[in-house]
């Protein structure tokens, strides 16, 4: 995305200014700080799966590393980018052991419980991988997934034959993990029992790993890398827009390259709620998480449609119809989600109003309206995210 780094820098500066302002409330300050952190943070990709599913090989293929050589001795690890190779091990007794240079068999002899690695590989720029190593037991994996959920933006689930255990584990996995998840069959064929969409995966990307067929594996890895890059870019773009909205809501104007002047006001028909409310019921969070996941996945589907087959003069109307469909579903669902309305009384209204707006935009038609409707969706996503994070 050209211009994105400059944009990021500008927005971060504006956020820092807002954070430092005298009138800023503590809540606003922490929101600014977390937004800045978020904008500069690497994309966190988790690699999951049963033992022997091909997790290490996948990590190597994506990062250009050769960790698989260390075999099963490798513990759960985090792999990020750094100017020079560095490693830090957390040993079973809780002590830490840092060392210059890459991973060595000597370090592994201490049987570390957790490893943090930094490598200068270019593939690792802007990324941080989490490789989750567990036993094959449900009792071991389920808590590990819950732990990992808060450390991962995109989940990759490696599987060789999608066993009932895997299906069960995945169904029980936290929503945060399932929001952006790709299932990666590592064998030569997609397991017959696996229906990616039904299981809640956004995509299914098969990769034949090096030991089976070198040529097609490269293509498979390339395809997965591309997908990860696009997802990361889209997420970054949405984060930028959300930050922009956040700034505008607090009266800071930053140049919005995509928004024609004068429309920003109509995009923001409602002020954000500032007052911290009573604690939120877990049922409400679940309902909101589902709704949020719907927004993400339908936005994703829309993005693909835009890339693939939405073009020509009909494009705007088509886009408006699809967007209106999303808003309609959201407002219909919101009407029936009782806990949601109890926890955030303004949220159903926001969703209803967004639907009203999108309906009128659809009737007006035109590219400008389509762009506006798309921004409205991004804004709504932000509104939901703020509530989920609270």
């Amino acid at each position: 995305m050209t211009g994105a780094p400059a944009m990021t820098a500008e927005i971060c500066a504006a956020l820092a200014a807002l954070q430092g302002a005298e009138r800023a409330s503590p809540r606003l300050r922490s929101a600014c700080a977390s937004l800045v952190g978020r904008l500069n943070a690497p994309v966190r990709i988790g690699i999951f799966g049963l033992p022997g599913a091909g997790k290490r090989a996948l990590l190597d293929a994506l990062c250009g590393t050769r960790l698989a050589l260390f075999g099963p001795a490798l513990p759960t690890l985090e792999l990020g980018h750094g100017a020079a190779a560095q490693s830090e091990a957390v040993l079973p007794d809780g002590s830490r052991m840092a060392s210059e240079g890459g991973l060595s068999p000597a370090l592994l002899q201490h049987a570390p419980a957790f490893l943090t690695l930094q490598l200068p590989n270019p593939q690792l720029e802007g990324r941080r991988y989490l490789l989750l190593v567990t036993d094959a037991a449900e009792a071991d994996i389920a808590p590990a997934l819950a732990w990992a959920a808060r450390r991962v933006d995109i989940a990759l689930w490696c599987t060789s034959d999608w066993t009932p255990l895997e299906a069960r584990l995945w169904q029980a996995a936290p929503d945060a993990l399932r929001n952006h998840a790709i299932v990666v069959p590592t064998g030569t064929a997609i397991p017959s029992g696996l229906q990616a969409a039904r299981e809640g995966f956004q995509a299914c990307m098969q990769i034949c790993l090096p030991e089976t067929d070198g040529d097609s594996a490269e293509k498979g890895v390339q395809r997965l890398s591309d997908h990860l890059r696009k997802t990361a870019e889209a997420a970054a773009e949405q984060d930028l827009l959300a930050a922009q909205m956040f700034l505008q809501r607090h009266g800071v104007n930053v140049t919005a390259p995509e928004a024609p002047p004068g429309t920003a006001a109509t995009v923001l028909p409602h002020p954000a709620t500032e007052a911290p409310g009573p604690p939120v019921a877990p049922e409400a969070k679940t309902e909101l998480a589902r709704l949020f996941q719907y927004v993400r996945s339908s936005a994703e589907a829309l993005r693909h449609a835009l890339l693939d087959d939405l073009s020509g003069p009909e494009c705007a109307d088509d886009l408006l119809t699809r967007l209106d469909g999303i808003f309609e579903t959201l407002s219909d669902r919101a009407g029936d989600l009782d806990h949601l309305g109890d926890a955030w009384p303004d949220l159903p209204d926001l969703l209803f109003e967004a639907r009203d707006q999108s309906l009128l935009m659809r009737m007006e038609g035109g590219m400008e309206q389509a762009a506006e409707a798309a921004r409205l969706l991004v804004q709504l996503r932000g509104d939901m995210e703020v509530r989920l994070a609270a």
Binding site: T266, P269, G335, P348, D349, F352, E353, R355, D356, Q357, L359, L360, M361, M363, E364
Partner: protein, 677 residues
């Protein structure tokens, strides 16, 4: 083929044509079976059971689904309706466009042929006064849009109309308003006196009060008649039917639009009649607006007068496409069934005068037939072939299917549930005692205890409903208010953008369909919420009552089903014309008169506000409130019916007081004009 000559054209002809409604036979048979089961319960010893069974039988007997025909003046609605009821000349088709009578034809399979009734109702004093004073809805709109000269014109025309009515009806005029004329018969002349207004009428000398039966009597009361109801025998029609013929909607004063809206509000099935020639050329936005507020399954579009097309075989598919495109473009319902045919052909088939079709019409019929005739149909009598080609059997079939699936199914469900609950009560009471001793009492609770429990259940159910409804009402109020604001915001933005781009020389418009869609979706959310609230309250009440029955009679597992919810009225008031719809000269002048940007957008905001308030009020008054009322009645009725049943079974006697409410009656009585147009 012989030409059937009849002395009275309102008599049915001796024809072998099958009833277009034979598709209702299945429903009729199922209702008859239910009625039979109920008749057995009517003989039950326990009086409350027999009472309620009788009440349910009455519900079946009075079931009369309605079909409302709407369309433009020249679409041929009346010809079509005449053909559909098998009486080619029943209603006068040459009605002067001034009249605004809604004619309801009540077809009854049980009435004898010479057993007919009719009733004609005049406008009330208030309705008439409002019409003259305000100039109808057009006057209202004109005054809002600031079109004083138009308003004056409308007033003058209406004044003229009133003078003529006065002259025609003499001093009796004021006395007649608000009255109803009932007759134990009807014939063509009687109908014409109320419904038909001859073109030459106003030129006749004043004060001529000739006796009935002369041409002078034609249309005597026509301009003050609001509705006409005719009851007559239709032995081939499996169930009672009410076919409503409404005046066309394209009148100068929009009086008839209001009348049509009122007729539509209480109907569950609407046939929109278009003329084949108009369907391709003119778009009737008023009609599209009206049907947009109904569900697609409640609408059938019938394109009439295909006999007047030069080449129906080629043109009909074009017309179908054109209608679908138009509906889509103007945000109407898009999956509506569209049928084609000719009331003219049908009437000639019905009256056996096919040889008088006329050359062009006969040629069109030949072309149409040769394209659609199949082997099995070709075996039939020519009259039957023409009847089929006229599209009327297909229309009748479509109507029958909708009724069977909609109001018919609703009745079956509600009577079925009530029947099941009756039996459940009976078996609970009989569980410990031989059947003949039910009346002696097997109850473990006292009468007072039972009464108190039921009172508590009812109070609790109504409170639950009330509480849930508070939130639903609040959502509705905020959604309609937001809809107005959102619409006003976007329309004003669009206006300002327009001014930036084109200045104020160009006239700007903004589709008011958006406002309607927002309000409609607010209403749908309301209906959904209200239904859900009532459903929950009913469910709880049903469980409580089942538990009470179990306690009282010492049985377990008494299944008690909550009755189906009454249907919500369609928000047809949203279809009424508002100032924003008028793209004519007023709008242009409204536009031109305002000079500055500021005053334009302020005026526009004010206009939207003034337009929205009455629409929302009408929506609340005519649709939302009555719906809530009907839900509350249904809930109370269900609980009280159970109370009477349980009390009666336990203590072996009749109900202490007459049952108010009872199960909801699915068919609402004939439409009335609630507010003066």
């Amino acid at each position: 083929m012989t030409i059937a000559e009849t002395s009275d054209p309102t008599e049915p002809l001796d024809t072998t044509l099958p009833s277009p409604f034979h598709g209702l036979e299945g429903l009729a048979a199922r209702l008859a079976a239910m009625d039979h089961k109920l008749s057995e319960l009517c003989g039950a010893e326990a009086r409350p059971v027999s009472l309620q069974a009788r009440k349910l039988r009455k519900q079946i007997r009075e079931f009369e689904p309605g079909i409302t025909f709407i369309g433009q003046v020249k679409a041929g609605k009346t010809t079509l309706v005449n053909a559909l009821v098998g009486r080619a000349d029943l209603l006068p088709a040459d009605v002067n466009p001034w009249t605004s009578v809604v004619t309801s034809l009540h077809l009854s399979p049980t009435l004898e042929e010479d057993d007919r009734r009719s009733s004609f109702r005049f406008f009330s004093n208030e309705e008439w006064g409002a019409l003259i004073r305000q100039g109808g809805r057009v006057g209202e709109l004109a005054s809002r849009a600031g079109a004083e000269s138009e308003l004056e014109k409308v007033r003058r025309q209406l004044e003229e109309m009133r003078e003529k009515s006065k002259a025609r009806l003499g001093r009796k005029f004021q006395l007649l308003l608000g009255q109803t004329h009932d007759y134990n018969t009807f014939d063509r002349e009687l109908i014409e006196r109320y419904v038909c207004l001859g073109d030459d009428f106003w030129d006749e000398p004043e004060g001529d009060t000739a006796a009935f039966g002369t041409g002078r009597e034609r249309g005597r009361f026509a301009d003050i008649t609001r509705s006409a109801d005719l009851w007559f025998s239709a032995p081939d029609t499996p169930v009672n039917l009410c076919i409503q013929d409404t005046p066309g909607v394209n009148d100068t004063f929009m009086i008839r639009e209001q009348i049509t809206i009122n007729a539509l509000r209480n109907t569950r099935l609407c046939v929109m009649v278009l003329s084949a020639q108009q369907a391709l050329s003119a778009v009737d936005l008023g009609l599209i607006r009206l049907i947009s507020n109904l569900r697609s399954r409640h609408i059938i579009i019938f394109v009439n007068r295909i006999d007047e097309l030069n080449d129906p075989v080629r043109e009909v598919p074009e017309i179908r496409d054109s209608i679908q495109t138009t509906l889509k473009r103007f945000h109407g319902p898009t999956d509506v069934e569209i049928l084609f045919g000719s009331g003219h052909w049908a009437n000639h088939a019905v009256s056996g005068s096919v040889d008088r079709l006329g050359g062009a019409s006969a040629q069109a019929l030949l072309d149409w037939s040769s394209a659609h005739l199949d082997q099995s149909l070709a075996q039939h009598h020519p009259v039957e072939i023409i009847w089929t080609m006229s599209g009327l059997p297909a229309l009748g079939q479509a109507i029958s299917e909708r009724i069977a699936q909609d109001s018919g199914a609703q009745l079956e469900e509600s009577v079925g549930t009530a029947l099941q609950n009756l039996r459940a009560g009976l078996s609970a009471a009989a569980a410990r005692q031989p059947a003949e001793r039910i009346a002696a009492g097997a109850c473990r609770m006292s009468r007072d205890q039972i009464a108190a429990r039921f009172a508590r259940i009812e109070a609790q159910a109504l409170t639950t409903l009330q509480e849930a409804m508070t939130a639903v009402h609040r959502t509705f109020a905020s959604r309609t208010e937001n809809a107005r604001k959102t619409f006003q915001g976007r329309a004003s933005d669009s206006l300002l953008k327009h001014l930036d781009l084109y200045g104020d020389g160009e006239v700007w418009t903004y589709d008011p369909a958006g406002l309607r869609m927002l309000l409609r979706s607010a209403y749908n959310v309301f209906v959904h919420g209200a239904g859900k609230a009532c459903g929950t309250a009913q469910e709880t009440a049903a469980n409580d009552i089942a538990a009470l029955i179990g306690e009282a009679f010492g049985t377990t597992g008494t299944g008690l089903e909550a009755p189906p919810l009454p249907p919500a009225p369609a928000p047809v008031s949203l279809g009424q014309t508002i100032a924003l719809d008028l793209r004519g000269s007023w709008w242009t002048r409204f536009w031109r008169r305002r000079r500055s940007r500021k005053s334009l957008s302020d005026e526009f905001a004010r206009l939207i506000h003034e337009e929205t308030v009455p629409i929302v009020d009408a929506l609340r008054r005519d649709c939302a409130d009555p719906y809530v009322e009907s839900l509350r009645d249904a809930l109370s009725g269900f609980i009280r019916a159970q109370r009477d049943l349980v009390t009666g079974l336990a203590f072996g006697e009749g109900t202490p007081q007459p049952v108010p409410g009872g199960a909801p009656v699915p068919h609402t009585p004939q439409a009335t004009l609630r507010s003066a147009p």
